[in-house]
Subunit: 375 residues, 4 copies
Amino acid sequence: MRTTSVDVVRIATKGPGDVSGLLGLIEQGKIDPKSIVAILGKTEGNGGVNDFTREYAVSALSAALAPFIDLPPHRVEQRIAFVMSGGTEGVLSPHITVFTRDSAANRVSPDISEKRLSIGMAHTRDFLPEEIGRSVQIRETARAVAAAMAEAAIVDPQDVHFVQIKCPLLTSDRVEAAAARGNKTVTNSAYGSMAYSRGASALGVAVALGEIEGEIDDEHVLRRFDLFSSVASTSAGIELMHNVVIVLGNSTSSAAPFEIGHAVMRDAIDSTAVIKALKSVGLHIEDGSGPPMASRQLVNIFAKAEASPNGSIRGSRHIMLEDTDISSTRHARAAVGGLISGLSGTGAVYVSGGAEHQGPPGGGPVAAIARLSTK
Amino acid sequence: MRTTSVDVVRIATKGPGDVSGLLGLIEQGKIDPKSIVAILGKTEGNGGVNDFTREYAVSALSAALAPFIDLPPHRVEQRIAFVMSGGTEGVLSPHITVFTRDSAANRVSPDISEKRLSIGMAHTRDFLPEEIGRSVQIRETARAVAAAMAEAAIVDPQDVHFVQIKCPLLTSDRVEAAAARGNKTVTNSAYGSMAYSRGASALGVAVALGEIEGEIDDEHVLRRFDLFSSVASTSAGIELMHNVVIVLGNSTSSAAPFEIGHAVMRDAIDSTAVIKALKSVGLHIEDGSGPPMASRQLVNIFAKAEASPNGSIRGSRHIMLEDTDISSTRHARAAVGGLISGLSGTGAVYVSGGAEHQGPPGGGPVAAIARLSTK
Amino acid sequence: MRTTSVDVVRIATKGPGDVSGLLGLIEQGKIDPKSIVAILGKTEGNGGVNDFTREYAVSALSAALAPFIDLPPHRVEQRIAFVMSGGTEGVLSPHITVFTRDSAANRVSPDISEKRLSIGMAHTRDFLPEEIGRSVQIRETARAVAAAMAEAAIVDPQDVHFVQIKCPLLTSDRVEAAAARGNKTVTNSAYGSMAYSRGASALGVAVALGEIEGEIDDEHVLRRFDLFSSVASTSAGIELMHNVVIVLGNSTSSAAPFEIGHAVMRDAIDSTAVIKALKSVGLHIEDGSGPPMASRQLVNIFAKAEASPNGSIRGSRHIMLEDTDISSTRHARAAVGGLISGLSGTGAVYVSGGAEHQGPPGGGPVAAIARLSTK
Amino acid sequence: MRTTSVDVVRIATKGPGDVSGLLGLIEQGKIDPKSIVAILGKTEGNGGVNDFTREYAVSALSAALAPFIDLPPHRVEQRIAFVMSGGTEGVLSPHITVFTRDSAANRVSPDISEKRLSIGMAHTRDFLPEEIGRSVQIRETARAVAAAMAEAAIVDPQDVHFVQIKCPLLTSDRVEAAAARGNKTVTNSAYGSMAYSRGASALGVAVALGEIEGEIDDEHVLRRFDLFSSVASTSAGIELMHNVVIVLGNSTSSAAPFEIGHAVMRDAIDSTAVIKALKSVGLHIEDGSGPPMASRQLVNIFAKAEASPNGSIRGSRHIMLEDTDISSTRHARAAVGGLISGLSGTGAVYVSGGAEHQGPPGGGPVAAIARLSTK
């Protein structure tokens, strides 16, 4: 029996503080603000430590949604999971994707046979600065992933296609706070800490989904890149101290008119994987090589990008890691964003940088959500 | 009768001053330094005004080749056309493409029926700073394109698939020199002048190939973007005051085991055009949708990229023109480079930024050279 | 008779959205929120077109102050003039300076003889995109400056020491809106429009204060750099379409325990001018060359910085205008910020970039506010 | 008895490859190319890993000087110490400082009583990638400093006022080479390795000059910032694998018409130290506070700049370490360059970034060379 349904809406934004598109859909009755469970967004900052577009977007969304859900702005974030990924380099286009969930009672069509899109959320406790990027973060994240799967009514890890995590980073203040307690953080660099936090969080997903076996400890983070999750997508932000976990997958308990699938890019130019992810949900690229599946429509693509740590891609040297002017995460988002946008026909896709332990080194997961024909 | 042949070799570089790959091939007898007519390179600078990797690469190549061709280093550039395009953002990989040309007498196979790759070169006189970006530059460039076509033994403009031009830019010194003569340059901005010079040069190609009709004057440059060439690729550099023109096309007089074709990207995410360019020379993308043509091998792709001037791509807003941290040319190269690399399977492709009047607004030409089976 | 008083408080911020310092002072009774007339801030964005830290700061301040002044957040800006200048490069430290004004009745000491700090505000009507950077903006700004002087009870232009203006810029949308009406904006470049808007606004100040004579027209903006105001400081922001004018000077009607003075930096390394501005309000640099004036204390310095348009400073070439990686405004703020911070002993100074028509080419005004001993 | 003399000439450059100024002085007989021992330059790259302006400048200088000293270009560097420091942010102006040394026999004036400028050079062996940033580099550097002091005929460490070192950095290739030998480098980050190499080299100076006592080991590098040299200035470059050491000080054996002195900036805004360094060689700032010493003339200032590692300067937060768009070394050079240029009246000063263990945390050495009246 289908018990819940999920709706997914992609909305273009005119700036990090722009909530007009969302408010318009609420006013038109197309989105019920009380049913919003998560908003994933691409904002146009640098995606680095000093990217304030993420917290600005969250602040604007919180202020806008607060009156609708009877909460003060600062408490909205406790109810809705906001994941703002900074960086819309190249052809990428700023936007938000709004996920709602509610009881499916009154809209189940009797003939659904396949699993459909389902979403589950959970979060960890706040971390101490010295816990970030280490095994505590891995362990707590794994626990939260399991909780989110349960909430999504997904039993088989194979049905999990994308796990988005928002995780904290270190700042000078936080490093000093740890030092004041006599503890050393995993790095003193704010920028460097983002990689550690993303990496540990991704390893937490891999542990939860059984993608890696055996003990994981501190030493594996950012070193054992052969250990990774094929569906993890983690973003670090200055605005929180805990991990927020969003599990996206397909479930028999969902009556949603959406399906999600994924593939793994083995490197940043893996067009085959992007095409495979599209095909997994019945979509194809528009080069005329295949028949259109008219009843399917792309909602969004979610992918991770990174510069391959060994400095080359299929034998050709890249310069992303040795550029002092543009951070490698910006380079990688721009390139992978260019490929995915070209294959999907739109720049309004979610490509996020920093894929440590998210897919193989230099690669990353790519998931696609398709809307099914609703006649 | 086939009278000339052309060879094209792509060589990876370890830095802008690295000539070891080229010297190695010369020493192995695979490249005859006396037959080199042009070298197109991607160097790893920012591609902007202060990108010194271009002149450094030219300086290193000149010093390396001088002893082989009995010229002092500073005169090598008069014999070999060097076009270094700065900027290998994202997955793009620094490399040079060496074009040689010689008499085909001793290697013509009797059964060639199609036209084959041919190359021709010419250059304009030095421009005054106040001529850059204006009709004088357009007119002189058109004249040089015609001369280069003749040298390549190409009669039909339809057989021209790529026209690479290196053109000058303005610096503070040059602007002041014009002012001292009582003349005003088209802009005072060094960075801005690169666009004017590229645009006027591209319009020169369009005039020469009959792609646009009627009078072209100063006012059209960077304003009438509906006027463009489908095969022009122009790069501005601080190191010269004239235009260098390289025409690449197919000719019945060539015995080269290469073919060139092109398509026009209508925007920066036009995967269809990239695939079309590949197919035009018998190549396909590796997604399993078509049979491999085993006898064909990609040598290189040459493309232009730019941020669409109207601020959006297929209706989605891009942020390239409003980013104060990364110039729009870097954004565009990274994105288009990501797409082309993904479709061709390598980052060692020539994607150059700033496509003013080179293809439609926001788009640009994409040419592919394939090596034919030589068995 | 002294009729008003002004208070000036500099508050460090931990990020663009941080209002905790201001709220703390309000809670301690040190700042009466109802008396706040203007807040000038330095935020840590790039200071360019896509610097969202400015609007984020304004949004956060508006939300924080709204309950205290019985206005909804979006109307706070109509009562309090917020001027956020983006860019705290180098040693510059993010902070806000809060100006309050109220009736001086109950705190006038009978023995004041000199003029004291006074503040006046005014704003223009909204501009059309095509009016920005042109004579309409100059004329309307001049009118607003006169109004603000009157409000500050300053009669003699010599008593005006700093005129801060916040002005609009062009975006792709705004350029298109003008085009849709059949009108051409002064430039299509968002970044370029910031200079035009700052320049026209500064010329408006010069007109109002009688610093330039004769007709000013469109052609003078960004061309006749010999026309300038010695006290204008203008910043462009994406968040408004009108000019906000804040006049700071000394007036006999003020009972404030502050004095303001200024000097004009003739170039970006004019330490003499900085020292002169400090001395004008009884302050000195701490190199031991003069006696301390114990009764005076620096509140803040307000200065403009720019790369000299001719490409050199006192005969030495600078690279600010030819750097494609870092905009010249960021370079200039970092350098002038380094000098002023070194001479004043703190990085929490207000140095704003883009000094077109604000001081001589390559230079800019530098004003200092000192607090007098209050025993 | 004075046995040697030194000449110091500062020459402006028009670009990293510009050697015209130097060649002009050689042709005019003002510089004897055979007597050149060292050239310190500021080039206009980003000063980071991918700053190719340094090696381009060395390449151009080597090619230009080779014919004069009867060496092939690639061997010139073995005779002349080239130290190119990348990054001329803000008001800094690209230039080179040429040091020559020869027998003083024919120009000693009999009445010299004070010590005069002397220069000595030495270099270490090539390092393995895994030795960079560790105690081996410290120890070998200390040995080279002692050798350079001996060559400069400086006995008392107090007479050493500036020790410039050029040191290697890690690249992806070098990290992999070490890994292939089973060894781990101190970091995998190319950018990060620059700090390690600079830090270890500076500690080597401190050891040689007795500035620190006790054992120094690997763990102290980039951690014990209370250990530092007050006269070390170290720059990392991709173009070498050994350390080049240049000692500048005053010696009784020198007959040079120059004197050098130094002070230590305790932070990046320490104007007092800059003024002190100028005064130590008889110079003053031009604010009218002291009498000019007509017989003295500034030749150049040599200083190091860095972002204070604790994130603040005299209690005010700076954003240099948390900016993903501009590296902290660029921020710091721009700011300190602004201060020193303002106090010395010229942007053609040598301010180099990355002051790890060079002066106290956030500070750095500042040395000044003055030319004495030669009448």
